[in-house]
Point group: none
Chain length 238, copies 4
DNA sequence: AATGAATGAGTGTTCATTCAT
DNA sequence: TATGAATGAACACTCATTCAT
């Protein structure tokens, strides 16, 4: 019987299982992202992964399994890659901004895969959809913690945390989903810095604003690039 | 030959064409929304619409056509239903808030169809995807006009209009996309009023804030319900 | 849902359904008989029947359905063709012998299909196997009635009817199953007449034996042919 | 090249070959009997036998080989187990009855395997089918010898030996093939004793009948149980 | 204009068989 | 000898599309 979240493999050697699954999933994520779940065939995945079709069924129960694990791979990337990017950062405002920047960067690296997650979650059987949603919620929590620390530290006024976190998440995802529209107008750095202007700055207390200003002076990347392109905000920053 | 945006029909009687297409598209939107594009078959659509499979091919070139027009149907609903809801409203702040409320209401009525639009746009052939994106942009413009009027009237400070409009759009869509998460925490009214707190209020000038306060006093629905949960705004409203 | 014994068709026109199913089943019986169930492919059946593979699935749920109805077709042939062969015959002994002769004749005409029934019943899902067994029992009853009449009329002594009927059935089937061995030694007529010597004659009362003798004098076919080829029995008959 | 009847093994150590083949064939007979040839996979056989799939191909040429030898294993069981059961018995009538009883007993122990032999012989390639038939004929000869001895000794009148032997064989096989029907009505012992009433007794000479009666008096098993259920024969026996 | 029977290319999946270790 | 991972041909089944009526 298939247990949700646990996908059985017919192969016993653990090391090999890990390797082959990775190999196949990388191919699957790529193809699913490019062409969608239903228009990607198992034999295309096999070709892309450099294995035979039969082999895929030694490592995955069925095509649905491949999708499930592909989505989990993407969602776990979010979850795993944000924390290291926050390491060493102490100031809550800085951590929040960096978390947003990190999230967007990761999305940028997985643009197609992010779109895939939006498109294809519903293609899973209901029971497995839940698993994917849980992964998503865990990522949200990372941002939520940053936001809370800002409020608790008095850097940000009281807001509807829950909803604001979702704005951050959507903002990050939007870089992938609406990339066709944004690409022409923003660099990723500018996109994020403008996002901070809209979704972080307004809720900062004076103390919080000072922290953000300090940060902008020190960092050359996303916070600064935000200052330039838009003349209005450049003046404000001065 | 198939022209983008123009889907040929083999039937000439214009009235009938309109009627039959509507009949088929309603069925298609329902089924596509429920089960997705690829898992819905032409014969299911035919059954749902009460016609034969052959007939569908007299009004649509192929299955892709049915999807294209289904998506257009949904996106045009957004575009058509917002303006009447703004009719009679003069004040820019009021119009902006109402536009957001209207958009969310419409999304709420077309929840599954909105998810469909997210999932399935990529299933279209590239050329036709563009058509759908244009429809989306036209809807965005409605919101953008409201936002601009606020800024032009001095009710809102300078912001990155373009990006803020996208926040409004995403916010509205999120009601459908993340409904599984929001449903348990917000009524639609509360969702919108909290959205105004996060995405409109922070950018208002004092003059704009006065307008919003007045509006909240007068209207019983979404703006008011917003006032309660957050203690800060409750005090302001008093 | 699939009801046992009733196999749904997607096609509504009753006349056509009958015709197409017959066409496909004739091909299926032939191929299944020749090569067995598992080694016959749907596309071979389609080719043999002169239709496309897809069409088969408009008239049968799956390959198993085709087998079920193939077997029923064969078993129903037994059931339907024996009674007309008994029509007009009054004497119980005559009816019994004729029933055996009829059964063997029919088996001879469906030799491969009879083998099929033996081989493939177990390939059916358990639930459907029962249906096939019921068909078999109905045929047995035809023989049983003949046997009973013989006993009731005092033409045959008391015997274990139930088991003797099975000897008759097995004897008839054996003509198909062991045809590779019998073919070289017996004509069908001789096979049956010898069968009567072994499985009918010994249980007849003197009155019954007189009836059989009369019959042998009158009929040129199976009863007589029995008498000739074997010199020993010819003498006995004299 | 594959020689009929001789199945090559890649392994040379004769002792080991014997052992491994036995191990694999026991697993194969079990699974083939349960689920049939085509629905049993090599890897199931390997698992059941506790070996790897690769190993099977070191002792058998292909899956067909495994079937051939499985069938031979079953048929040889018949051939080998009957003679020891006749040992020490001198009287021809007794030997005949005992052979029938032995055959049925063996069939009873190999019920599923007997069904397998019926179902699957045709799954073999034609040349190999012949081999299996020869095995069958050798078993028949055992019964035929018993029958001949009865006739030669004047215990049985002239009959069509060849055909009567086939009745005996079919009767024995039927215990497996129609077990679903017989199980509810007969014990094995009763089945055999009734079989003797139908297929042996009628052909006995007075001298033969006396022998049978004596036997019935002496033996507690199958011959006696036959005497009871049918009142007519009970009286005769007295 | 409308039907729905017919088509057949295309897909997921299985499994006998091979072969490097 | 023995293993079991890897292969890929083959098959059941689906469904968009066509077309005779």
């Amino acid at each position: 019987m298939k247990l949700p979240g646990h996908v059985a493999s017919l192969v016993t050697d653990t090391k090999l299982v890990e390797e082959r699954r990775g190999q196949i999933l990388r191919a699957a994520v790529k193809l699913f992202s490019d062409k969608g779940y239903y228009t990607t065939t198992i034999s295309q995945i096999a070709r892309e992964a450099g294995v035979s079709t039969g082999l895929i069924y030694q490592y995955f129960g069925d095509k649905d399994d491949v999708l499930l694990l592909s989505l989990k791979l993407v969602l776990e990337t979010y979850e795993k890659e944000i924390p290291p990017r926050l390491e060493g950062l102490k100031h809550p405002v800085e951590r929040l901004c960096m978390a947003l920047w990190a999230y967007c960067t990761i999305v940028d690296g997985l643009r197609d895969a992010t779109v895939l997650a939006y498109r294809s979650t519903k293609s899973l059987r209901a029971e497995r959809r839940t698993l994917v949603k849980q992964d998503e919620l865990r990522t949200n929590r990372l941002l939520q913690d940053c936001l809370r620390a800002c409020i608790a530290g008095g850097y940000m006024r009281q807001v509807n945390e829950y909803l604001l976190v979702y704005q951050y998440v959507n903002f990050s995802h939007a870089w992938a989903l609406k990339n066709w529209a944004f690409r022409a107008r923003f660099s990723l750095g500018k996109y994020v810095s403008e996002g901070i202007v809209l979704l972080v700055e307004p809720f900062l207390t004076p103390k919080g604003r000072r922290a953000l200003a300090g940060m902008r002076r020190r960092t050359a990347n996303f916070t600064r690039s935000a200052a330039r392109p838009n003349p209005a905000s450049r003046r404000r920053a001065a």
